[in-house]
Assembly symmetry: C2
Homo-oligomer: 256 residues x 2
């Protein structure tokens, strides 16, 4: 009999988040789970790592049963400390989620959920992030179910080095999901607003709010696919080089 795979689960909504509980419950059928997740919510921390403060770790049981650790760090910290210090065996798979709120388009680069999968990929481990496109009344079933299916595929099929997957799921019951779309990252931008306020002592402060403009409707783009009711799967990597501009740039007079 083949040994069951070792799977590391994490997220950025914190170890007590309902999305992580739902993911953990579903993934128990796939392998030996360990959960290493932030002690508290860490949304929009981007790909931060904690260098100037020590990391504290506490044991934790997810759903009262699955072994885990809470860490006073970011999702990227969690994956690093799990692999290098906490886990007995190197994980065969890293899954980050289920995040409350989609991580599509340029949100991908701000996302703590995605950064945990990035960290897994940097460590050479098959990894994906999974997010649910809602902040209210989440229905995690379709996302949890697809995570199980995708995990089995990733334990069987190899991805190229440095590639990982960013999955976004519509907030809909399973039978309302229209299918799976392999997509590219959307590039539509935010129109931001800063709300200027005064505190009781008369000092100015600002709140950020913003909304995306020109959101793509193309089902080949992550945001378009999710809005049309498809589960979006985007292959991403952490090589930011814009290769097609290298030659042009070499012809600028950089050397004067």
């Amino acid at each position: 009999m083949k040994k069951p795979p070792n799977i590391l689960l994490t997220n950025d909504d914190g170890i007590e988040a309902p999305g992580l509980k739902a993911l953990t419950k579903a993934m128990e059928s796939v392998g030996n789970l360990t959960v290493v997740a932030p002690a508290v919510e860490r949304s929009a921390v981007g790909h931060a790592i904690t260098l100037s403060d020590p990391l504290r770790v506490a044991e934790y049981r997810v759903n009262g049963r699955v072994p885990g650790f809470s860490v006073n760090g970011t999702p990227a910290d969690c994956v690093k400390i799990a692999v290098w210090a906490l886990l007995k065996n190197r994980p065969d798979l890293v899954v980050s989620g289920i995040n409350l709120g989609s991580n599509t388009g340029i949100n991908t680069i701000y996302s703590g959920t995605v950064s945990a999968a990035t960290e897994g990929a940097i460590l050479g481990i098959p990894s994906f992030a999974v997010s649910l496109a809602t902040y209210e009344n989440p229905d995690f079933e379709a996302a949890a179910d697809f995570s199980v299916h995708l995990s089995r595929l990733l334990l069987k099929n190899r991805m190229p080095e440095g590639v990982y997957l960013n999955v976004n799921v519509p907030n809909a019951p399973m039978d309302a999901i229209r299918g799976i779309a392999v997509t590219r990252q959307g590039l539509s931008v935010f129109k931001e607003r800063f709300h200027k306020r005064s505190d009781p002592r008369g000092r100015t402060y600002y709140w950020l709010s913003g909304q995306k403009v020109n959101v793509p409707t193309d089902p080949d783009v992550d945001e378009g696919a999710v809005n049309r009711g498809y589960i979006s799967v985007t292959p991403v990597h952490y090589d930011l080089t814009r290769y097609d501009f290298l030659d042009t740039l070499k012809n600028w007079s950089l050397d004067r």
Copy 2:
């Protein structure tokens, strides 16, 4: 006579950092400067944005002369609030740096310095990040001088949409710099170590330290170029899609 360009300067070492002062001093010859930078050091914040706390802004003069604002946020916050709330005129250029410590290889994705340039590019503004490859005894002259030259080029030449530049400079006097290398991002990884300690109450905590392994020596790669004494210029973008894997992924049985 042509109007001088409006230039936004920022960093992640904080508004009082010597690298920002050196950059500001040199860039006064290029255009009208405004500095909007974090109030305190924000290293390794990655592409974080502040959503759950209000941003506070204080007026500040860099080098006692150049107008600016300190912000209790990240470098990405600084660029956002500068463009959407603080500046009278949209900047023609965003320059982030001069960072103490290189931002090459996979450090690029953790870098607050780079994230400010990313934010500039997202906003459609020509942008670059500039870092000095040392933590000690910095000599900012070559980095400041090249920033002036590159700024003039970027105000004249157009880059493709979404592209920005990540510049890394060896810590050497000008006449010891061997030239300019257009490079790709290195992909060598860290071997991390977590140092386990106990606090006076017997609770465990960890410190992260790590070092890169298999650092490339190829002068076409950012780290290799800097180590050989070249200023490295890497064109980067914020589209993480791994395009060459899209078709293969479509042939996986994602739909079962």
